[in-house]
């Protein structure tokens, strides 16, 4: 199935993946196709290889690396299971009180032997259209820039500044 077919699937966005094996499988396929779609050209996608399988709780749902370009990407899924209010303005540090659909950080991702450490971005996102749109922006930039960490940090700083001013307001 391609990305469009997955988006049109009656179970999309596969929120029951923790209980439902089929939805989990479809979610894995969605993230592989989503990532491939962010890269654009087929030849760009060929350099990326999976490092680890998806975990059943969606953390991570995708881990891929590109040796030639010395970088990696890890995606975590999050969901608002308790229907908490969205993260408000003012940058409160109150664990468990609010829901933030998207957070991300720069990190190192290692291969299974632990021998190779790739500069990486870790994106923790829910499946909402706004968070997926921003995830696409970050992934596209991170995968295409020659030196990706600076622009990604700048993107992150702008995101946090906006969060601080207005809370999570994207729809």
């Amino acid at each position: 199935m391609n990305l469009e077919q997955l988006r049109k699937h009656p179970s999309f966005p596969f929120l029951a993946f923790k209980q439902n094996d089929l939805e989990f499988l479809l979610l894995e396929m969605f993230w592989a196709e989503f990532f491939r779609d962010c890269l654009g050209k087929l030849k760009d996608a060929q350099d990326w290889v999976p490092l680890f399988p998806a975990e059943r709780d969606g953390v991570p749902i995708l881990v891929v690396a590109n040796t030639r370009r010395n970088r990696a990407v890890r995606i975590h899924l999050r969901s608002n299971e308790d229907d908490k209010p969205l993260y408000p303005s003012g940058s409160p540090e109150m664990p468990g009180e609010y829901f933030l659909p998207l957070d991300l950080w720069l990190d190192e991702v290692r291969d299974a032997a632990g021998a190779t450490a790739y500069p990486a971005v870790v994106i923790s996102t829910d499946m909402s259209p706004s968070a997926l749109d921003m995830t696409r922006q970050v992934l596209t930039q991170f995968c295409r820039e020659d030196e990706p960490t600076g622009p990604t940090q700048a993107w992150l700083d702008r995101y946090y500044e906006e969060l601080s001013k207005r809370g999570y307001h994207w729809k």
Binding site: L51, F52, E55, V59, P60, V63, R74, H76, R78, K84, Y87, S91, P92, E93, M94, P95, G96, E97, Y98, F99, L100, D103, L104, W105, L106, D107, E108, V109, R110, D111, A112, A113, G114, A115, P119, V122, S124, Q153, L156, Y160, L163
Partner: protein, 94 residues
């Protein structure tokens, strides 16, 4: 432990010639947690508890290689408790 940059804080990694027991992993996690001040511990309390629960629920043969994050929900900044596992065999055997 980590935030949005690549700087992290943690106990020295465990290196063994056999798969690492889950209890050894949990002891290492406790060492990392003890390195934090009270404020840092407070915000990560629930994430740390989830990490210990996850370690305690590993199958008998271990079954994990890779990097696992237990995120602090509802805050920004990549605040989390990480457990990393590498090597020729699955770690955290019980």
């Amino acid at each position: 432990m980590g935030g949005t940059s690549r700087s992290t804080l943690g106990a020295s990694p465990i290196t063994l010639s056999v798969p690492i027991p889950a209890l050894t992993g949990a002891a290492n996690a406790q060492t990392t947690y003890a390195m934090l001040d009270n404020t840092q511990r407070g915000i990560r309390e629930a994430a740390f508890a989830k990490a210990l629960k996850w370690l305690s629920e590993r199958p008998a043969n271990g079954g994990f290689l890779g990097q696992k994050s237990f995120e602090v929900s509802g805050v920004r900044g990549g605040i989390r408790f990480d457990i990393d596992s590498f090597g020729p065999s699955n770690n955290f055997v019980t």
